[in-house]
């Protein structure tokens, strides 16, 4: 090897050194040795409830479900403080549980990795998840399958916790699939509604596409590095071939697209609103959609070496953040507006994650802030319909008394389903004051009102985007404006203006068990922004994602904050001018622009899937069936038919007449004689 090339290698190693940290955990001790309980408790809860069955556990399943998750939260909190007490360089802890797979040259341990990144995820999942559990006690109070619901919720949380605690890709894959299963069960929880069953199936199938990326990525990682453990891979990732690293990055991006509902695998998220509202909150805030962001940030030791995959992440993020925002502008279904908004916000996170070490911290920060306010919003939305349910039940009880009472259970669900249309809301701020106030906190946070958590987190991402590339920065800025528009539209249509309620609807505030989690989350939406003050989150995540090198910015951060605030204000103003000033029609207007129509149809995402994937797939399968019927079956049947036809002709020789047989014998003999003569004569 020549001197120059080795010098080059040294140079490139130096360039990466310091930016890509190697994961080198120490063994867990003290309170940190309780890590496994964080996963085990919800898993145990799920096992007990689901194995014992709904009828036997009905009385106490919800208590068990809440207790396990809250206990996990307490342990997470203790572990967090234990980690806080350590040196910044010593905050990576692993706990070996047992050898999971030991086959030939392949060994996978079931061991946990607890570092600053896992720590914030644990707090988010168990904290927000716990609040959602508590809220569900009230929300699902009248559902006779509530016990099973809590079993699924616990399973969801346990799978997500395994996903963020596993110290290797195979363990992440296990949690990944567990999350997919639990989301399927929960989205389709009201499986008697065909739409819910279809939505669950859609979520499952679309997620499978992403899971292919996860599975192939894990296999490729093992084939390349000989291990799937983060610690092992991060130590040698820089030495792998560029093409392999890019392939790994793209495969994990595909996986992240599936779980995080990023374009092109975004279509399941809007339909997933068919699940009970706490499920939507859980999917959007604590589990599921955050998994993709976690995967990208966790795999920083791969993405940092591959420019192509990072660019792909940025592109996916930008496209999705605009895509989701545009959809959010046109929907009348309050839950779907929020779903579009989730897509958009996760797009921001992916965008930040694509910026490398600089962006990882902001991605995670936005994720936390988003978790707080999105959970808050979904839960608040849940209160509206819940009020309607009570109202309708009231109506049924008085109007149809006996007959109606028995018909009620099914119809109420149906009525509630209809009541997600914002055009039938309006003027709710007096009817549900606590919900209104807490929802407002979430609203201000998501549009990035100065001082609220969304302001701090989104600000930094847009700043970073401008530092990266002007076009990306502008796209992120426009996304912020659109976010302000659709969220203001949602607020105006829901809480202000005139009453546009259905007849007989008497909304009233929900019980304490549902409003208290809201208040907690609203407080977090407000104060979550303090996390970023003094760059706390950046310093905290530094050992995991590497030293953050700041981009050169054209202006000072304050100028960017001002620009963003102005754009947000413009978005709010446009919403006020178009929605707030005039009366909202009860039926969605049909003479709308092409853009609105496209956004109402989810920007034709489903149509695109149908045209590009489903139809060609259909045709391919039809072709295969035809080939099987005519080609394969034809060859087999044809051979048989040919022999049958031949034998039908040959058996005509068997006439039954002795003389014809005699003639054959004579003919044969003559032939033999002639042949012998011919042989002898020559």
């Amino acid at each position: 090897m020549s001197v120059t090339s080795s010098a080059l290698i040294l140079l490139s190693e130096e360039a990466h050194e310091g930016t890509v940290p190697v994961i080198d955990p120490t063994a867990a001790d003290g309170v940190l040795s309780l890590l496994w309980l964080i996963i085990a408790l919800p898993a145990l809860g799920a096992a007990v409830i689901l194995v014992a069955g709904g009828t036997r556990t009905r009385a106490w399943a919800h208590l068990l479900g809440c207790a396990t998750v809250l206990a996990s939260f307490v342990i997470s909190l203790l572990a967090f403080f234990a980690l806080l007490g350590r040196d910044a360089d010593d905050r990576s802890v692993s706990q070996f549980l047992y050898t999971w797979v030991d086959a030939g040259g392949f060994t996978a341990d079931m061991s946990l990795l607890y570092d600053p990144l896992s720590a914030v995820f644990l707090l988010l999942i168990t904290g927000v998840g716990g609040l959602i559990h508590v809220y569900s006690v009230g929300y699902m109070a009248h559902d006779e399958r509530r016990a099973r619901f809590f079993g699924y919720l616990n399973l969801f949380v346990a799978a997500m916790l395994l996903l963020v605690l596993a110290d290797n890709y195979l363990g992440v894959f296990l949690g990944w699939e567990g999350v997919g299963l639990a989301s399927y069960l929960l989205i389709g929880f009201w499986q008697h509604k065909p739409s819910a069953a279809v939505a669950a199936k859609k979520a499952f199938v679309v997620n499978r596409v992403g899971d292919i990326g996860m599975a192939l990525g894990t296999m490729l990682a093992f084939a390349t590095f000989g291990t799937t453990a983060f610690a092992g891979i991060s130590a040698v990732a820089g030495e792998a071939e560029q093409a392999t690293l890019t392939a790994l990055g793209l495969l994990f991006l595909l996986a992240a697209c599936g779980k995080s509902a990023q374009v092109p695998l975004q279509s399941w998220l809007l339909d997933a609103m068919e699940g009970p509202t706490p499920v939507s909150a859980l999917i959007h805030a604590a589990t599921m959609v955050t998994a993709g962001v976690y995967l990208v940030v966790r795999s920083n030791f791969i993405y940092d070496y591959t420019e192509v995959a990072q660019t792909a992440v940025v592109i996916v993020g930008v496209v999705t953040l605009l895509w989701g925002a545009i959809i959010g502008c046109a929907k009348d279904d309050i839950k779907k507006v929020l779903a579009g908004s989730t897509m958009s916000q996760i797009g921001y996170m992916m965008l930040a994650a694509g910026f490398g070490p600089f962006g990882y911290a902001f991605a995670i920060f936005h994720l936390l802030a988003h978790g707080f306010f999105k959970a808050n919003m979904f839960l608040a939305v849940g209160l509206g319909p819940a009020g309607y349910v009570a109202g309708l039940a009231h109506l049924y009880a008085h109007g149809f008394f006996k007959a109606g009472l028995f018909l009620g259970a099914g119809s109420v669900m149906h009525a509630m389903n209809d009541q997600v249309d914002m055009r039938h809301y309006g003027a709710l701020q007096k009817a549900v004051p606590v919900t209104f106030l807490t929802f407002s906190m979430g609203y201000l946070a998501i549009i990035g009102f100065p001082g609220f958590s969304g302001f701090w987190s989104k600000d930094r991402i847009i700043e970073a985007a401008f530092g990266e590339n002007l076009v990306i920065g502008l796209a992120a800025l426009v996304g912020a404006g659109i976010t302000a528009f659709y969220m203001t539209r949602l607020m105006l249509m829901t809480f202000f203006g005139k009453k546009r309620w259905e007849e007989g609807v008497h909304p009233h505030e929900s019980p304490k068990i549902m409003t208290v989690p809201l208040i907690v989350l609203a407080a977090l939406s407000v104060f979550g922004g303090l996390l970023v003050l003094g760059d706390w989150i950046v310093d905290w995540l530094d050992p995991v994602v590497g030293v953050t090198q700041h981009h050169e910015l054209a202006f000072s951060p304050i100028v960017y904050s001002l620009i963003i605030t102005v754009v947000v204000a413009v978005g709010v103003a446009i919403a006020w001018l178009t929605v707030g000033k005039s009366e909202v029609p009860r039926v969605a207007p049909t003479n709308v622009s092409f853009v609105t129509r496209a956004a109402r149809a989810d920007l034709y995402g489903d149509a695109l899937n149908e045209e590009l994937l489903m139809r060609p797939g259909d045709r391919f399968v039809t072709g295969l069936i035809a080939f099987d019927d005519r080609g394969v079956d034809g060859a087999v049947d044809g051979t048989g038919a040919a022999f049958a036809g031949m034998s039908a002709r040959f058996r005509r020789l068997q006439t039954g007449y002795v003389r014809s047989y005699a003639l054959s014998v004579l003919g044969g003999s003559l032939l033999v004689v002639v042949a012998l003569l011919a042989v002898n004569l020559t």
């Binding site: 005509r652 068997q654 006439t655 039954g656 007449y657 003389r659 004579l666």
Partner: protein, 99 residues
């Protein structure tokens, strides 16, 4: 000794028997024609035995006669049975064993 007349006679007899087997319908006549063919071949065997000056051909002829005698017994029995059941000795009538 010139074997030609004997062989010619043998060939003529064989051909007559052959044509009889192929053309006649009466089972008895067919049977007699088969015997004619056997004896024609016997004549050829004895002639060649004489030409070569050894006994192989004559031994062969005796074997043919023995087999023919046995065949006559079995064949006539079959013809008798067919005649009893079908009231006919025509070989064309006994044509059930076909496709």
């Amino acid at each position: 000794m010139d074997p030609t007349p004997f062989l010619a006679l043998s060939a003529i007899l064989f051909t007559i028997g052959c044509i009889g087997v192929l053309t006649r319908r009466n089972a008895i006549v067919v049977f007699m024609c088969v015997e004619l063919m056997l004896n024609a071949s016997n004549l050829a065997l004895v002639t060649f035995s004489r030409v070569h000056g050894n006994l192989d051909g004559q031994v062969g002829a005796f074997f043919v006669m023995v087999v023919a005698a046995a065949e006559v017994v079995v064949g006539l029995a079959i013809i008798m049975t067919i005649f009893r059941t079908r009231r006919s000795a025509s070989v064309d009538d006994a044509s059930l064993l076909k496709y």
